[in-house]
Symmetry: C2
Subunit: 268 residues, 2 copies
Amino acid sequence: MSIHYQATPTQLAIAHQERLKIRHGANVPTMGLAPGMTQVNMICVPEDWAWDFLLYAQRNPQSCPVLDVIESGGFKTILGKDIDIRSDFPKYHIWENGQKINELTDITEIWEKHPKLVTFLIGCSFSFENDLLMAGIEVRHITDRTNVPMYLTNIPCRTAGKISGNLVVSMRPIPASHVSQAVQITSKVPLVHGAPVHIGFPEQLGINDIYRPDFGDMPRMSPHEIPVFWACGVTPQAAVIQSKIPFAISHAPGHMLITDIPDRRWSI
Amino acid sequence: MSIHYQATPTQLAIAHQERLKIRHGANVPTMGLAPGMTQVNMICVPEDWAWDFLLYAQRNPQSCPVLDVIESGGFKTILGKDIDIRSDFPKYHIWENGQKINELTDITEIWEKHPKLVTFLIGCSFSFENDLLMAGIEVRHITDRTNVPMYLTNIPCRTAGKISGNLVVSMRPIPASHVSQAVQITSKVPLVHGAPVHIGFPEQLGINDIYRPDFGDMPRMSPHEIPVFWACGVTPQAAVIQSKIPFAISHAPGHMLITDIPDRRWSI
């Protein structure tokens, strides 16, 4: 299905370097870091919620494309040799009964207290941004060095067991002349959210004010740009909230894990 | 990701008709039936093997692309309104401890004795055969009205929990001049096995005699044709055998369920 592209030594070195900075405390959104290398979302749930979550992902593959499942208690991933998922995201959110109770930059200690979490690493739309740039399509939040704006929509995902929630989307303003190309490019990478779910008219997604995203930073848009919406790997966090999962850990939106896998691995 | 193409009334009527024949006892391989409509593989396992199997599918997406998971005891699927998976496959295999103990054309009675099976419906390479035909590529086993030849390879799948097994492939002989086109066409449908896993040299897959498939019928090949191998939805049956799953039900290879979903739904 996917072609087993390998990263170049330079790409691997840069990914490693950025990851080390993050491991040692850099607490920043990761957009634009280690260009061409796959970044991923994370959601960890208790063992007895893992089946429901994997089923939720299977039923909502556009928002929850699972790139790796780390079994109970594990913290290593096939997506990179030296990765420790407990320290290598810049920021984590800790959830209890659907409420965010803490933000941390390292969860190694929490892991001791919750030794039986199952972790899902989920594709991220950052993976197609390099392709957009290479096609001459500006990615505004990279230009502006801000976090991508993300919105909780009014579109329910398919439920699975005890898990339900609405779709979360990321938005990029695209010049009307380039929207078609953006669809073409992103439709080729279904495992990192693929083609847009919606183009134009944010209110149809239940977004009342495009300048007030639910996650990430306020976008800058110009009059000749169309808001283009892609399914987002923050969708599991909406499910954590709505389903009141007793305990969960996620990354902070936009604060991703940089892996050793090149983005082009996900291209059809 | 996928476009929600709807079947035409005629397509639906034909699918329904073929399904009824099967429900009422037609016991035949389904290649070429209801052209353009999705056919699927099946594997049912006990509840306490379901997590391992879904993980196995996630780790081996090319051979086990899950199109629907039917939760414990269920027999209806989102892939078609009137479908009953207990009667709508032409033939079933019943497995105990990794051994095939029976072949049946209806499993409704068995279902009463094993009320807590979880069912996985898995994409089938028959879904891209119509596209091959439309591109002028002969599909030999449709021409010959035989079952597609399938082979157990020496390629291990990624294990998941208690489940392991080798990859099963289907084979179509393709004229050398059309192999590239066959790759192009099938790579666009990753959820029905996607691009070939191997082209030429069957012995590299551990296949000693291309004329003696492990499942399906003996192929007819001519000297200027290349054997082209695609991942096959019989792969879960190899896992049932190798993992000695205590109880399982599968379809008989090549004897698929005809759904109400058009094949083009799976196109990227």
